[in-house]
Symmetry: C2
Subunit: 322 residues, 2 copies
């Protein structure tokens, strides 16, 4: 069954054991030229190389493989138009159960293809919250599938926490990490990163990176209640959602701070990573470098781990002129 | 001094020792999705992650570090508008000597910047062979710098050979490599790959990959003399040059065959590598996959190493619509 409370150290260790055969152990890359430009030592955890091209497979596979045969016999369901949808479809495929994915009928062809390629069953809805929730409710009533929320789920959070755990396993013997920076949308990765940091590297400070045009998490922490994400405006299509009760509770206790970056900085940093590191990352990944770019003084000479969350971009719609 | 004859096994071992602190040991990546699409097992040697973004640093650094203090006191010189220029400039910078780089005045800003960023001294010439050779001759007369040809030089060839050597060191205990595929322009990498294969993996067959619109090496092997490269027409800007005496002699004795690919296949394979592997490679790298794409039957179920030679592309001029 899913975890009922905030994941413990043991829960995260078990999650990692559970999923390790289904995920890649992604590399941590460095770039001497970006280090020179920014005046600090950066360690890039490359979840763009992860299965389905994003860290989301960690939480999805941990949730799917946490359920018993009985619990999962009717499959899983979610609403998502992003990487979680593909990740849940792949996890279900590995377990040989159906995955019902509710997607807005406006979703791009690329995203639909990704879910289809992993065997997900797509149910289209209107592109609004009400239709999405009703469509999901209907399909769950029909099929008895288990709902796997993309972040408001402790088993998903424990899965996402394994990313920072790998970083600490690989780096803690070599370098004292001053900071770890993870993007924040719904907060699944950031809350998991907070937990792994407490358990495995308590002297490292956790920073959330959020687009200036979608800074509901920043405002939520400042005002101590969850601000909804209303009309977010950013290139980071993975960071449009708002915090949930579970993620907000973990983040507000444990995060050092949330830093914001503008889209122009995000695009600059995305292009810099492509050019200097020769790897493809999506805007929602590049924001981790962009918050350093906008706050350079704070990070001079520091050792900083950045989670590059994914590499799923439409190569025919790049945010710079071609 | 430079090697006077075809590099021996010991010459390549010594080259590798000589340069290993100045180059990256680049990773070999695999992609289960590309393997499925092509029906074979591919091992991608990622020289796009190499210093200066291309394998050329191997030959350039081996040549620069093969020279004595006396020999090299006046610096090195070459004509090149591509990766060799940047590689020679960086090698010279490490050795703290000047590098004189003759470049056509029509060279792109990106290429000029790369050479400048490594401290190379650029001398502009007209964009034709006569001006290039005269300008180089003049600068060498003036400075007494040592000419380092980008491929017609046995020390450069021995340096390029270290790339295949690394592949065999890493893979030979794990898998029987049926083929290794390297692009061919002037033939420095392909001739080095031939030599390392004889010495370190004699049962592997070496294939050269050449653009259909610049297939002078294919014709040279067929006709047993060096065809000049006249009006080559291809997107592979790294593969426009013709074989030299030294490279032709090694290649004709040792290569299994040269396969050609059209630009449309090269662009398709380049995009596929970007999308599936999340890495940036230039067209001259993607040609190694493109020759498999155009000759699938020959490679079914085979184990094949591909050298992805570089990742220097202008992100604002991609060969697909944006």
């Amino acid at each position: 069954m899913f975890l009922k409370k905030e994941p413990s150290k043991q829960d995260i260790i078990e999650a990692h054991e559970r999923i390790k055969n289904y995920i890649h152990r992604t590399p941590i890359l460095t770039s001497s030229s970006i280090n020179s430009l920014f005046g600090c030592n950066l360690f890039f955890k490359c979840e763009n190389f992860q299965k389905v091209g994003a860290f989301k497979i960690r939480g999805a596979s941990n949730s799917v493989f946490s359920l018993s045969e009985d619990e999962i016999q009717n499959g899983v369901a979610t609403h998502s138009s992003g990487n979680h949808a593909a990740a849940l479809a792949l996890s279900a495929k590995i377990r040989n159960i159906p995955a019902y994915i509710v997607m807005p009928k406006t979703a791009t062809r690329t995203k639909i293809s990704a879910v289809e390629s992993y065997g997900g069953k797509i149910i289209y809805c209107e592109p609004n919250l009400k239709s999405r929730e009703e469509t999901l409710k209907n399909i769950i009533n029909e099929t008895n599938a288990v709902f796997v929320h993309s972040y408001d789920n402790y088993s998903v959070i424990a899965g996402q926490a394994t990313c920072a755990k790998e970083i600490y396993e690989e780096l803690n013997n070599k370098v004292k990490l001053d900071f770890i920076i993870a993007p924040v949308g719904g907060g699944g990765l950031l809350s998991g990163t907070c937990l792994s940091t407490i358990y495995f590297s308590p002297n490292t400070k956790v920073i959330g990176a959020e687009p200036s045009g979608a800074d509901d998490a920043f405002r939520s922490l400042r005002d101590n209640f969850i601000h909804p994400s209303i009309n977010p405006s950013t290139i980071c299509d993975g960071l449009l959602t708002q915090l949930s009760d579970k993620t907000f509770s973990i983040i507000k206790k444990n995060v050092y701070k949330i830093l914001r970056a503008r889209d122009d900085s995000i695009i600059y940093c995305m292009k810099l990573i492509w050019e200097r590191m020769k790897i493809i990352v999506e805007p929602s990944s590049a924001i981790t470098l962009a918050v350093i770019f906008e706050n350079k003084e704070e990070f001079v000479n520091k050792n900083i781990a950045l989670i590059l969350t994914g590499g799923n971009v439409d190569l025919e719609k790049l945010p710079w002129k071609n």
